[in-house]
């Protein structure tokens, strides 16, 4: 499985994402943000960091990077797309996922392990997990409070798009949302970092079940 890890100027988790994918047996490589053809890839990851310095808003400039038009086409064709942390912010700014990510409640930068609860297996990230399963995965963000209007939130619930929730909400996210998918389930964004929960040496291996799902998921056309 060939995985493209998109690198924007200011990305800083691309090596972790690449390493996690290769550990799981994929063949991952970096894709510079000016690339406009993703046809050689089976899956795409937008990693964490501070794309374009997070100027204006996290993801606001990155969504206009040339690669994003290609990511949009890739997603429209059913290709698996995963946005982690800053990548999640880019996906919401690009309109590939609904809602937005705001500054954490209390204006605190949070860097800590969190317990997540799997609330839907209807996505490429959670298909191999079980509903109710608890996963310890670290967060590392300043703007991770998910927000959306009432109609959007109702639609997320109706279509079973909230895939991961915080057990103990650290950042003020609406509905304890830690990760969500599009209706089709092939585009997923989450604020926690599963690629940093790959080894007992680093505190948790709970990211594996998510990233293994991502690598094996088959999306219904």
């Amino acid at each position: 499985m060939r995985v493209g890890v998109v690198v924007f100027p200011g990305s800083n988790c691309e090596y972790d994402a690449l390493g996690a994918m290769n550990t799981l047996g994929a063949k991952a490589e970096f894709v510079w943000h000016s690339v406009t053809d993703l046809s050689g890839y089976d899956a795409i990851i937008l990693p964490g960091g501070f794309a374009h310095g997070d100027y204006l808003r996290p993801g606001a400039i990155a969504r206009f990077s040339p690669v994003m038009a290609a990511v949009e086409r890739f997603a429209a064709e059913g290709g698996p797309v995963l946005g982690i942390c800053n990548g999640f912010q880019v996906l919401t700014e690009a309109g590939l996922l609904p809602g937005a990510l705001q500054k954490n409640i209390g204006l605190t930068f949070l860097c800590q392990p969190t317990t997540l609860v799997v609330t839907s297996t209807n996505s490429v990230l959670t298909s191999g997990a079980t509903v109710g399963q608890e996963l310890v995965i670290p967060i590392n963000h300043f703007s991770g409070a998910y927000t959306c209007d009432d109609a959007t939130f109702a639609s997320l619930l109706e279509h079973d798009q909230i895939v991961l929730r915080y057990k103990d909400n650290p950042n003020g996210s609406r509905g304890d949302v830690a990760g969500l998918a599009n209706e089709r389930g092939n585009v997923v964004g989450l604020m926690p970092h599963p690629e940093r929960a790959m080894s007992t040496l680093l505190g948790s291996v709970d990211g594996r079940v998510l990233l293994e799902s991502f690598l094996t998921a088959h999306v219904a056309a």
């Binding site: 808003r57 606001a60 206009f64 919401t92 809602g99 937005a100 705001q102 209007d149 003020g172």
Partner: protein, 86 residues
């Protein structure tokens, strides 16, 4: 003509504004009582080349909606500053 346009981007009503509320909570400790409803936003100043004031504002409103604000959580307000050149 070249028009100075000011774009104010503010959190949409009903959307949490952790920056504004943190500032508001800090004020009484500094002796500033009676200040409420503090909202924190951003202000942009743009020189816009256009045929008329209306056209300059229209252009600014379009770019404010597409880039300067996130319409999911923010409102953008455009207004004219003084003319800075011709």
């Amino acid at each position: 003509m070249n028009y100075l346009v000011i774009v104010d981007v503010m959190p949409r009503a009903g959307i949490a504004d952790p920056e504004g509320s943190t500032i508001e909570r800090a004020l009484p400790a500094l002796g500033f009582g009676g200040v409420s409803n503090v909202k924190a936003g951003k202000s942009f100043r743009l020189n816009v080349e256009a045929e008329s004031e209306a056209a300059a504002l229209e252009k600014a409103a379009a770019l404010a909606e597409r880039l300067l604000s996130n319409p999911v959580i923010e409102d953008a307000f455009v207004r004219l500053g003084e003319v800075v050149g011709s």
